[in-house]
């Protein structure tokens, strides 16, 4: 229901607090394949192609691509202030942790319910990594 709130426990990887509109990707993400100045996904054939990561709460299964390009990709987005506000991920790996650590974007995993079931595009999401809590405000019914 629009406006209803769901509170979920999660596991903190990189601490901090971030909130914003949800952007949900079912495919892994490579930050290098976004436009560093705007945050728009440039990867052809990606389900988020043409969508903008800037200031969103990004929900995605995992990162991908070599460590150098992934880390540099997120770093460039952050230096143009168009990085996501927080990230919710299913399968975490070292490179994604390092990327989020460098740009200080909160990163959490292990939500008590499947984030892909609960969170939809356009929901408003608050990620409080410190308290291990994600609050989803439904945008559409």
């Amino acid at each position: 229901m629009k406006g209803s709130e769901i509170s979920l426990k999660c596991h903190k990887i990189i601490g901090g607090y971030g909130e914003g509109e949800a952007l949900v990707s079912h495919e892994p993400i490579c930050f290098y394949l976004t436009d560093p100045k705007t945050g728009i996904v440039r990867e052809k054939d990606h389900e988020l192609a043409g969508k903008n990561l800037a200031n969103k709460v990004l929900v995605f299964p995992s990162g991908k691509a070599s460590s150098v390009v992934q880390i540099d990709g997120l770093f460039k987005l952050a230096s143009y202030k168009v990085a996501p506000k927080a990230m919710i991920v299913k399968d975490v790996e070292t490179v994604l942790i390092v990327s989020a650590f460098l740009v200080k974007v909160p990163l959490v995993d292990r939500l008590e319910k499947d984030p892909f079931e609960i969170i939809r595009m356009g929901d408003f999401v608050k990620v409080d990594a410190e308290k291990g809590r994600v609050i989803v405000t439904k945008g559409r019914s």
Binding site: I13, L74, F75, V92, V95, I97, V98, L102
Partner: protein, 402 residues
């Protein structure tokens, strides 16, 4: 994760901000993987890249007074003086980033190897050592060929581990996680190191993520063949470890490699598959502008082979010919006479430099040839044909590929 008193003091900043940041990163990784504790490492390799994210972290550590506690080698950036005197097009700010990266690694007390195969000369683990080695060929080589243990590190997590002298105990540092996942029956005839490149490409792409166990290989693979297999399978896929029972150290039988468990999947590789891979890599043909070798860095034996193939020949006027290697190898190759032969033919042997660096901007719109799919993967050029070294050299002399 359980932290010792000393680790807690470091996290509070009592050993300085640089060391604190390094441990903060390692603890974040440890927590993510539910590591029980930190374990000591004996050495590290930071895949420095000369890019902005790399610069930020190494300067954060260096400015915060951090110093490497264990030997920590570095990956190639590029030879700034040499390339800026050669090509005018390289943006000045790229040189500033590269220079600052190189200075900062010096300030944290890293071994300035600027080599992507440090396990050959500058920073060599032994069997059973616990280490933190980033870089595509280094991670699988150290785990599989040497039988030391490392996770698939990023440059920053490896550098942090070098500074603290520890890494979280997770992933490939735990015996059960070193279990084989896929059985790869090799029926293809593997003649030379380029065949291992093709095999690596196929296995990485097919498995994507896992620990392959290779059988059917009859001859002991040599160093260069193993380097190629490591580098390419960890680029076309994410292969941090593999077994060739009988030749690699950690498991002497297939059963041992799978820790008596069943493989998740079985794959057979014949000459047909390798031919298909080769075809896929022939993205264009005809006139070429350059040949780029040494991705990963060439060993002394490979530099010798280039010299043998070029001896008495002349590289075509329209073709630039590059061999990338480490400073250590170039010194030996100079002394032994290989560099002289390559230079007389019109080629260049360059040190400290990776193919994935801004110094190659002059070739942005040009077509080249290389023996490495990893070199082609970086897309710094208009196009790059991947072929055997002999074919690359022949094309360099004729000015065009077959």
């Amino acid at each position: 994760m359980h932290l010792t008193k000393e680790e807690e003091r470091i996290l509070k900043g009592e050993s300085g901000e640089g060391t604190q940041k390094a441990l903060e990163l390692l603890v974040a990784i440890g927590d993510a993987y539910d590591a029980e504790k930190m374990i000591p490492i004996s050495r590290a390799h930071a895949a420095s890249s000369g890019q902005e994210g790399d610069l930020y972290f190494v300067e954060l550590l260096a400015n915060g007074g951090a110093r490497c506690k264990v030997p920590t080698s570095t990956n190639p950036v590029y030879d700034i003086e040499y390339f800026h005197s050669l090509f005018e097009k390289i943006p000045k700010d790229e040189a500033d980033v590269a220079r600052r990266v190189m200075e900062a690694y010096k300030r944290v007390g890293a071994i300035l190897s600027w080599s992507c195969i440090p396990y050959m000369a500058e920073n060599i683990p032994l069997y059973g050592e616990i280490v933190a080695f980033s870089e595509s060929s280094a991670t699988p080589y150290v785990n599989s060929v040497i039988g030391a243990s490392t996770n698939r590190e990023a440059a920053q997590s490896a550098l942090a581990a070098g500074v603290i002298g520890k890494t979280p105990k997770y992933g490939l540092h735990i015996k059960e996680n070193r279990k084989g996942t896929h059985l790869v029956k090799v029926e293809a005839s593997l003649k030379d190191e380029f065949d291992y490149t093709l095999l690596g490409y196929f296995v990485g792409k097919r498995i994507s993520y896992g620990i392959p166990v290779l059988t059917g290989i009859s001859r002991h693979p040599n160093t260069e063949e193993l380097i190629n297999f490591c580098a390419i399978s960890n680029v076309s896929g994410a292969i941090s470890m593999f077994y060739i029972p009988g030749f690699t150290l950690e498991a002497s039988t297939v059963e041992e490699a799978f820790q008596s468990d069943k493989p998740k999947d079985k794959i057979t590789v014949t000459d047909h598959e390798l031919k298909q891979v080769y075809k896929e890599l022939q993205t264009t043909s005809g006139k070429i502008d350059f040949v780029m070798l040494g991705c990963p860095h060439y060993t002394l034996k490979q530099v010798e082979e280039v010299a043998r193939l070029l001896d008495g020949k002349k590289i075509h006027d329209d073709v630039s010919f590059w061999v990338c290697t480490s400073a250590t190898t170039k010194m030996l190759a100079e002394r032994t006479g290989y560099v002289g032969v390559i230079e007389r033919a019109g080629g260049h042997v360059v040190v400290d430099t990776c193919i994935d660096e801004p110094c190659w901007i002059a070739y942005k719109d040009e077509v080249g040839m290389t023996d490495s799919p990893k070199c082609a993967y970086y897309r710094r050029f208009k196009d790059a044909i991947v072929a055997r070294l002999e074919d690359c050299v022949e094309a360099a002399v004729k000015g065009k590929s077959k």
